[in-house]
Amino acid sequence: MSEYVIKNGHVFDPVQGIKGDKADVAIKDGKIVTNAGPGAKVIDATGKTVMAGAVEIHAHIAGPKVNLGRIYRPEDKLFTCTPTRGMERMGGGNSIPTTFKTGYEYAKMGYTTAMEAAMPPLFSRHVHEEIRDTPIIDEGAFPVFGNNWFVMEYLKNHEIENTAAYCAWLLRATKGYAIKVVNPGGTEAWAWGLNCLSINDPVPYFDITPAEIVKGLIEANEYLGLPHSMHIHPNNLGNPGNYTTTLDTLKLAEGFQAKNKFGREQVMHLTHTQFHSYGGTNWGDFESKAKEVMDYVNANKNITVDTGNVTLDETTTMTADGPFEHHLTELNHLKWANCDVELETCAGIVPYIYSPSISVCAIQWAIGLELALMAKDPMRCFITTDHPNAGPFTRYPRVMKWLMSAKAREAQINAFKHKDKVLSQTSLGTLDREISLYELAQMTRAGPAKSLGLASICGGLKPGMDADIAIYNINPDMPIANPEDIEKAFTRAACVFKSGVEVVRDGEIVSNGHKRTLWVNAKVKENPQVMRDINEKFLKYYSVTQANYEALGHHFVPNPYAIEVDAVQ
Amino acid sequence: MEEYTVATIQVNLISGRSIQQGVAIEGGKEKPAYRTAAGIIELDPSDLKKLGAWKSTNVRVTSDYGNVVVKAIETTQGPHPGLAFIPMGPWANTIINPNTYSTGMPTFKGTPVKVDVAINEPVLLGIELVQKSCGVK
């Protein structure tokens, strides 16, 4: 394997505490090494910024609802198609890019690892087929557990060991990465057209509350000692006044301590927090409660969050929060797709236009930025757009520009039709903080990697870690003349390495690398009761046989990277 | 050759699956079973009577787009007076409306046809019918 040395760049590495010093980064056999060998190819990074490859902690990029989005939105491909060219297969799609385009666009921005945010277990083969067809970036997928019949039945009786055994079985059967929870209980209620809007609303028939589901899954997660924590999309997404539900949900983590061998310190990751930080009682008096939410997050170290920034684009919303999507189509009357999944979950899809002329959208935009600017610990607050829900992931450089430049934010605020509402309903106008490059590295590299339990592998430039490296055309020694330069620099990296292979040079794809599928193999002691329950449910209630559910052959996961967890206690 | 005086009937033709057609295609479209399953037109007894034909008589079915000889049988999924059913396949596709009206989809269901007795005309086998229509040896 090749040897490289990236010379003389300004290195930002929160793992080693390097804050822009000029340093060399050496690569050998796919890893970062302390010293370059004599034959190492030199990459001159003089005047450039060097960071680890970025880590996407939550995006909807592979699977049945993503693809249904592609199928039902041919208009998303208008003017966005890219031809077959050199190494690149053809691509298309703006808010829902095709899989080849997804891989290329992430790589060109210097992202090297991405997590598919919600995998319906019955459809895991589909998720893995799309992951396999997404070039360059390592990926993992989170199976959803928060509306699962097995989980609800076990947790009703607080059977943590059984819940943990089932979770381990499901992670293995689906080659999944973490315990994801979406609208706990509410999505099962949606199969009858109902919902759970607070953490205490009981689920029809199963008679368990979202609070019990969440706490039970936190316990099961720590019982197993998984690399990532329970990852939650709370109840009541998108409704004015929902910040109280969010605080109730965050408080469920109180008293729990992270137990794992991966350096993870949080027990709950709350995702796309922007959608959950709303005050007011209706769209008229709609206001930001970002401060209330971040005050709590800042004070409670066993929590990590990601922002879910609105990018002011036409995009497509898609989520396992089925009832929310129905609610959204009733609001904006755009086409609605839905799929309830037996015993497990649901998915809903509705296009959405975050228009800068609409005060609500402008306030949503502000809330996403407030969350990041109010975060006291950038290692616990990560930048996302919940792609494609709040905006396409290709807008990350724009979000970074807004966070790093008060001038850019001001320009956008001034451009809003309802600027006065943004200023009165949020506190963004009072925040002049500018995220530094080091903090950016924390919020997009080291922080998400640590939260995912991947701190020893990626998100940093410490020798021994994977050589996932991005070089950007930003010179930290020179003041930024124009905020657009920030966006430009992060849109097309000068050079990107993935596992020690140069994949992007001057913004162009030069290699597909050898992407891996990350998954977690948790071993628990044999649990005959859980196995009997699984057998029974397949025999009676599923529409596929157990043998066919479990079969995930090599052709689906051609290059697996299993993270072993020993939970035999 | 005997000549009958029988009436021509006008019916509305639809095409679709039948279980016999499904079995026949898996058995091989070159075989007689395919013709037996799909080289037929299912007519309501009242239409057969108007036609003046016995069941299982060969008939010629003609539309604006072509004509084909198939065996007329009494429907097993009726009554449906005025409606005729030829299972999906090359016999039906010789005469159904090929126009897609810019949707990409031909109009397999709902083609006005007339049916005449053609007692001495043979019903061709499936592959034979298509090859002949296309001028392929």
């Binding site: 592609r70 589909h126 057209g193 529409s543 | 090359p90």
Partner: protein, 438 residues
């Protein structure tokens, strides 16, 4: 001695039953018996064993005979044909696995072809409607466990999806439907008294081609507004009765088929059916699902969509994907004489396209990949038989509700026969050489 392979997936229709049991000889070469399949699935498995199978590629001769050639020569013919063509069509894909479909896409991209699947003559109009209005749907297990109102509109599962009603939609005792068929009310809308209609609680014997009006009338009935005495041949009292029945359920489903996708109003029918479903969600939980025909047409749509962005009728001739049904769809392309080569796989357009389109296939350089002799192979220049997918080779397939199930290999293919995927890989590699490596 024999052994029984369990959990076998049937590769015929979109029902994609996965509970078959197949008894094979110990050496894995002979398929002896099939259990649990319907008659069509049974025939598919057993016929794969027939002694008269074509096992080698054959080239049509001017005098009407066929000359057997090697797979390598067949690869060469196919690659040359695709390399030389300016606008080839690669059609079918519905009776093969996703792995083969994916290799096919690589070839289509290199050859700058049009590619299309059997949705073109089946549920293509459904896809157009979904692109207009969306689709509230669910998986088949949800029907089994929850549904108490089942509507079959313009489809005849007793004939086309024979085990659908027993596995998912009418008979099963699910979690919330312990009384099985007694828990459910069934409505069939069909111009004929089909074998499915004979089982229904209500059969609306609609005037053929008038589905749009009846769907719309049901929506009017949901709103309790005025109706004419008769709509589409159905009296208004009956329409209101059915509307009330649908509203009064806990979980309803509309299954629909060719009766609405292929009759004159086409995609507008489906649009209205989906609008009705969405409307019903104001009263109770309702979903809608197309009865997909081939066992992996859904898979072809999925693979096209995640790789190219569109589910069928994709035109790659300009080096990027374009989509415009009516313009880029197979039947229109053939009838307008726009193609200069035809590649068919996993389907039979010779039997299922209008004859005016098939005449064009006969006049073009053409290749047909199919284990069977078919009207398509009969008018193509080259016929390449391959192993039966789902019998002699495995591979991923997608059921009508988009659930992916990995088909199994049950027996060995005849000696020396290739699978679709193997043949396509050879064609791809040869085409890459002919086009000059990128």
């Amino acid at each position: 001695m024999t052994k029984t392979v369990t959990d076998v997936i049937c590769p015929f229709c979109g029902t994609l039953c996965d509970d078959l049991e197949v008894v094979v000889s110990d050496d894995g070469k002979q398929l002896l018996e099939v259990y649990n399949a319907c008659v069509i699935g049974t025939e598919k498995f057993l016929h794969s064993q027939s002694k008269d199978r074509v096992t080698r590629p054959r080239l049509h001769q001017p005098d009407g005979t066929w000359k057997e050639i090697s797979y390598d020569d067949a690869v060469e013919y196919t690659a040359q044909m695709l390399a030389k063509a300016k606008k080839p069509l690669m059609y079918g894909w519905s009776s093969t696995n996703c792995e083969a479909q994916s290799v096919g896409n690589e070839i289509a991209e290199m050859a700058r072809a049009c590619c299309d699947n059997t949705a073109a003559v089946c549920h293509g109009t459904t896809l157009i409607a979904v692109q207009d209005i969306g689709i509230p749907s669910c998986t088949l297990g949800e029907i089994k466990n929850r549904a108490d109102r089942i509507i079959f509109w313009g489809c005849n599962p007793a004939h086309a999806h024979p085990r659908h009603m027993s596995r998912y939609s009418i008979f099963p005792r699910g979690f919330f439907t312990g009384k099985g068929q007694m828990s459910r009310k069934m409505v069939v809308v069909d111009p004929r008294v089909t074998d499915t209609a004979k089982m229904a609680d209500v059969h609306l014997q609609i005037e053929q081609g008038r589905d749009y009006e009846l769907l719309n009338a049901l929506r009017v009935a949901l709103n309790n507004e005025w109706l004419p005495d008769v709509v589409a041949g159905i009296p208004k009292e009956k329409i209101r009765e059915v509307a009330d029945m649908m509203k009064s359920g806990r979980f309803g489903i509309i299954f629909f088929g060719m009766g609405v996708t292929q009759s004159l109003s086409k995609n507008h029918n489906i649009d209205e059916a989906i609008a009705l479903t969405k409307h019903l969600n104001e009263f109770t939980k309702f979903s809608i699902m197309p009865m997909r025909g081939h066992y992996n047409v859904t898979g072809s749509g999925e693979v096209f969509a995640w790789q190219f962005g569109f589910p069928y009728s994709v035109d790659l001739t300009r080096g990027f994907a374009r989509y415009n049904p009516g313009d880029t769809s197979s039947v229109d392309l053939l009838i307008r004489g726009e193609l200069d080569a035809m590649f068919t796989i996993g389907s039979d357009p010779g039997a299922h396209f209008p004859i005016s389109a098939v005449k064009h296939i006969a006049n073009l350089p053409s290749v047909c990949i199919d284990p069977h002799l078919t009207p398509t192979s009969g008018v193509s220049k080259l016929h390449v038989p391959v192993a039966f997918n789902g019998v002699e080779t495995g591979g991923n397939c997608y059921r009508m509700d988009n659930v992916p199930i990995d088909c199994r290999k049950v027996v060995e293919p005849p000696e020396g026969m290739l699978t679709d995927e193997q043949f396509l890989i050879k064609v791809r590699d040869r085409l890459k050489q002919l086009k000059g490596a990128a």
